[in-house]
C-alpha cells in the first residue's frame, strides 16, 4: 500500500501529529486530554508513517523495539505514585513544584504519571501492530 499521495502526506503528518500528541499530553491535567489519548495519537502518527512507507521504516526511525517503552513508562508512573511516600505523604498524593513554566505549566507528579501512561500506550500499541504486521508478512 504505497501510494505517492499518502507517502507525501505522511511525511508531513507524522511530525505534526507527534507534536499534537505532546500538546494533548500537556493540557491533560485540567482539560480533556492526557497521557492515554496523547499516546494513542503518537502511535497513530507512527503507524500512518509506517503504512505509507513500509512497516520496517518505523523500526528504522525508532532505532529500538517499542516494547521497551512499556516498562520505561510503567516505571515512570510507579515513581509518580511512590514519590509522595518519601515526603511522608500517602501514595498518589499530588506533589507540585512551585511556580509555573512556559508551555508546560506547573510541574508535578501528575504530569510524570501522564508521561508514563503516554509511553506505555505507545509501546503497547506499536508492539501489537508490529506483531500483527509481521504475521501478515509470513502469509
Amino acid at each position: 500500500m504505497t501510494t505517492l499521495i499518502l507517502k507525501t502526506a505522511a511525511t508531513y503528518l507524522m511530525p505534526l501529529l507527534l507534536l499534537f500528541s505532546v500538546f494533548i499530553l500537556l493540557r491533560g491535567h485540567y482539560l480533556p486530554g492526557g497521557g492515554f489519548i496523547g499516546g494513542l495519537i503518537a502511535s497513530i502518527a507512527l503507524v500512518v508513517y509506517g503504512y505509507a512507507n513500509r512497516i520496517d521504516r518505523i523500526k528504522q526511525f525508532l532505532r529500538f523495539h517499542p516494547g521497551i517503552l512499556i516498562p520505561v513508562g510503567a516505571s515512570l508512573s510507579t515513581l509518580a505514585a511512590v514519590l509522595p511516600l518519601f515526603f511522608n505523604q500517602p501514595v498518589m498524593t499530588g506533589l507540585w513544584l512551585s511556580g509555573s513554566y512556559p508551555i508546560i505549566g506547573s510541574i508535578g507528579t501528575a504530569l510524570l504519571f501522564d508521561i508514563g501512561v503516554y509511553f506505555v500506550v505507545v509501546g503497547a500499541t506499536l508492539t501489537i501492530i508490529f506483531s500483527i504486521a509481521e504475521e501478515n508478512v509470513k502469509i
Binding site: G67, I70, V82, P84, L85, Q89, P90, V91, M92
Partner: protein, 503 residues
C-alpha cells in the same frame, strides 16, 4: 513507621512486575527477580503484620483525600495476615516456577503477569473502598486470563473460555451491586457504608444488593450452584499456575465476602439462612464431585469447591467461634491448596500423567518424597494435630452452639469424603506398584532434571509443608490470632473509627 507505608507490599509487587518487564527475553533474570522480590515482599508483610498486631489498625488515604471521598487503604490484622499468607504461597510458587517452567513458556511474559496477579491480590486485601476492591478484582482476572491461556494449547483455551465468560458475568453482577449500594447510600467507603447502610429506609433493597453481591462474588469464589467453571478450567494450565489459582484466587473472593458481610451486609435471618444453605450444598456437591474423579488435578479442583463450603459455613453461622474457624481455615486452605497443586506437578514429573490409571510407585522409588507429600495431603484431610483439624473443630463448635445441625452434618460429610478421596489418591499414587511411565512429547522425567531443578521442585513443597506443620503444632498461637480477627470482624467499631477519624 508511618501508616502510609502499609501500601509497600503492593508497591513491591508492582516494582517486581516492571523490573521483569525490562528483562523481556532474559528469563533467568526474571526468575531471579521474582524470587528475590517475593522474599522482600514476605519480609515486609511480616514486619507489617507484627506492627499491626502490636499497634492496631493502619489507615492511609490515597492521594491525601479525606475518608469517605478518597480511596482508603486499610491494614487490620485480618488483611495483614492475609498478606503474609499470600507472601508465603507466592514465594513457594515463584521458586517452583523458576525450576519447572521451560524458557519457551517463560518467554510469554509469565513472570510480569504473575506479579501483576499478586499485585491485584495484595491490593484487594488492603482496599478500604468497595469500588477500589472491584478494581483490584479486575486486575486479578485480567492477569489470570493471561496466565490461564499461557502456552495456548487447545484444552487450555477451552478451559479459559469458560473461565473468562463466567468471570465477566460475575464482574458485571458485582458492579451492579456496587451501583445499587451507591444509589442507596451515596458512599462506597467500607467504613462509611457500615454507618450508612443500617440507616437506609428500604432494607429490602439492601437485601437485594447483598444477594447480588453474594452472587457476583460467589461465582468468583465458586460456591454452589455457580462453581462449574472451576473444575472445568483449573486442571488445564501448568501446575505452577494451577497452584497459585487454586491457592489464592477463590480465597480472595472468600476474603471479600467475609469482609463485606461482617461489616455492613450483616447476615440477618434471611441472608444468613441463604448463605448457610449454600455453604452446605457447596460442601456436599464439591465432595461428590471429588469422589468420582480419576485425575489428580480434577480431584484437587473439586476439593477446592468442597472446602470453600467450610469458610462460607463459618460466615453463615456468624458467631465469633465460627468466624475464627472460617478465618483459620482460610489461612490453612491457601497454603495447602497451593501445596497440593505443586504436589500434582511433582507427580506428573515422576509419572508422566495426571490420571489415576498411570500414576503409582512413589513409595517404591522415592520413599522420602512420599513422606514429604504425606504432610500436605494429611493436613488437607485434617488429621489431628495437622493444620486442617483445628479450624474444623471451631466450625463444628460454632455450628452446635448456633443449633445449625444441618451445617455440622455437611461439614462432617465434607471432611469424610475428603478423607476417602485422599485415601484413594494415596493408595494409587504412593502404595500401588509403578506403572509404565507414559512418555509424552518433550517429557522430561524427574530423574533427568538437573539437581537445581529437582531442588526447585521439592523445596517449595517442603517449605509450605513446614508452614502447615506450624499451623498444626502452633495452633495455640494461630487460634489466638484467629480469635482476635473474629472479634474485630464481629465488633467493627474500631475499624470504622480508625478510618473515619480523618473527617
Amino acid at each position: 513507621m508511618t501508616d502510609n507505608l502499609l501500601i509497600l507490599p503492593v508497591i513491591i509487587q508492582l516494582v517486581i512486575a516492571v523490573i521483569s518487564l525490562f528483562f523481556w527475553s532474559r528469563t533467568n533474570y526474571q526468575r531471579l527477580s521474582s524470587i528475590v522480590g517475593n522474599v522482600i515482599f514476605l519480609a515486609v508483610s511480616f514486619i507489617l503484620f507484627f506492627y499491626v498486631k502490636e499497634n492496631g489498625i493502619m489507615v492511609s488515604q490515597g492521594g491525601n483525600w479525606p475518608a469517605p471521598f478518597g480511596i482508603t487503604f486499610v491494614l487490620d490484622l485480618f488483611s495483614a495476615s492475609m498478606l503474609v499468607i499470600t507472601g508465603l504461597s507466592g514465594l513457594a510458587v515463584s521458586i517452583f516456577t523458576a525450576g519447572s517452567m521451560s524458557r519457551r513458556r517463560a518467554l510469554f511474559v509469565f513472570f510480569p503477569i504473575y506479579h501483576f496477579l499478586l499485585l491485584g491480590i495484595s491490593g484487594s486485601f488492603i482496599a478500604g473502598d468497595l469500588f477500589n476492591l472491584y478494581v483490584w478484582f479486575e486486575l486479578i482476572i485480567i492477569a489470570s486470563f493471561g496466565l490461564i491461556t499461557l502456552g495456548g494449547g487447545r484444552r487450555q483455551l477451552e478451559g479459559a473460555l469458560k473461565y473468562v465468560t463466567l468471570n465477566l458475568v460475575a464482574s458485571t453482577l458485582f458492579l451492579t451491586s456496587i451501583a445499587f449500594v451507591y444509589g442507596l447510600t451515596g458512599s462506597l467507603n467500607l467504613a462509611d457504608l457500615a454507618v450508612k447502610i443500617p440507616e437506609v429506609e428500604n432494607q429490602d433493597l439492601v437485601s437485594i444488593a447483598a444477594l447480588l453481591f453474594f452472587v457476583g462474588l460467589g461465582i468468583k469464589t465458586a460456591v454452589f450452584p455457580m462453581y462449574f467453571w472451576l473444575p472445568a478450567s483449573y486442571h488445564t494450565p501448568m501446575s505452577a499456575i494451577s497452584a497459585i489459582f487454586g491457592g489464592l484466587l477463590t480465597k480472595v473472593g472468600v476474603y471479600a465476602l467475609i469482609r463485606v458481610f461482617s461489616l455492613f451486609f450483616l447476615p440477618d435471618s434471611y441472608i444468613g439462612t441463604v448463605i448457610s444453605a449454600i455453604a452446605a450444598l457447596t460442601l456436599i456437591m464439591g465432595a461428590m464431585g471429588a469422589f468420582i474423579q480419576k485425575d489428580v488435578r480434577k480431584v484437587f479442583s473439586w476439593l477446592i469447591v468442597c472446602h470453600i463450603g467450610f469458610m462460607i459455613a463459618g460466615l453463615g453461622i456468624f458467631s465469633t467461634v465460627a468466624l475464627a474457624g472460617a478465618v483459620l481455615y482460610l489461612f490453612h486452605d491457601i497454603i495447602i491448596k497451593t501445596n497440593i497443586f505443586m504436589v500434582s506437578g511433582l507427580l506428573y514429573r515422576i509419572n508422566g500423567a495426571h490420571t489415576f490409571k498411570f500414576i503409582g510407585g512413589l513409595y517404591e522409588h522415592y520413599p522420602k518424597l512420599s513422606f514429604l507429600i504425606a504432610i500436605p495431603l494429611f493436613s488437607l484431610i485434617g488429621i489431628p494435630p495437622l493444620s486442617g483439624f483445628w479450624p474444623k473443630i471451631l466450625l463444628i463448635e460454632g455450628g452446635i452452639q448456633g443449633f445449625d445441625y444441618f451445617i455440622v452434618a455437611a461439614i462432617l460429610l465434607g471432611s469424610f469424603v475428603t478423607l476417602v478421596t485422599i485415601g484413594k489418591l494415596w493408595v494409587t499414587a504412593v502404595w500401588s506398584e509403578q506403572k509404565q511411565v507414559k512418555y509424552v512429547k518433550h517429557f522430561i522425567h524427574f530423574k533427568q532434571l538437573s539437581k537445581a531443578q529437582r531442588i526447585a521442585y521439592v523445596f517449595p513443597i517442603a517449605f509450605l509443608s513446614v508452614v502447615s506443620l506450624f499451623f498444626g503444632f502452633g495452633a495455640f498461637w494461630m487460634l489466638d490470632i484467629a480469635n482476635r480477627i473474629a472479634e474485630e470482624l464481629i465488633n467493627p467499631e474500631l475499624y470504622i473509627q480508625s478510618i473515619l477519624q480523618f473527617q
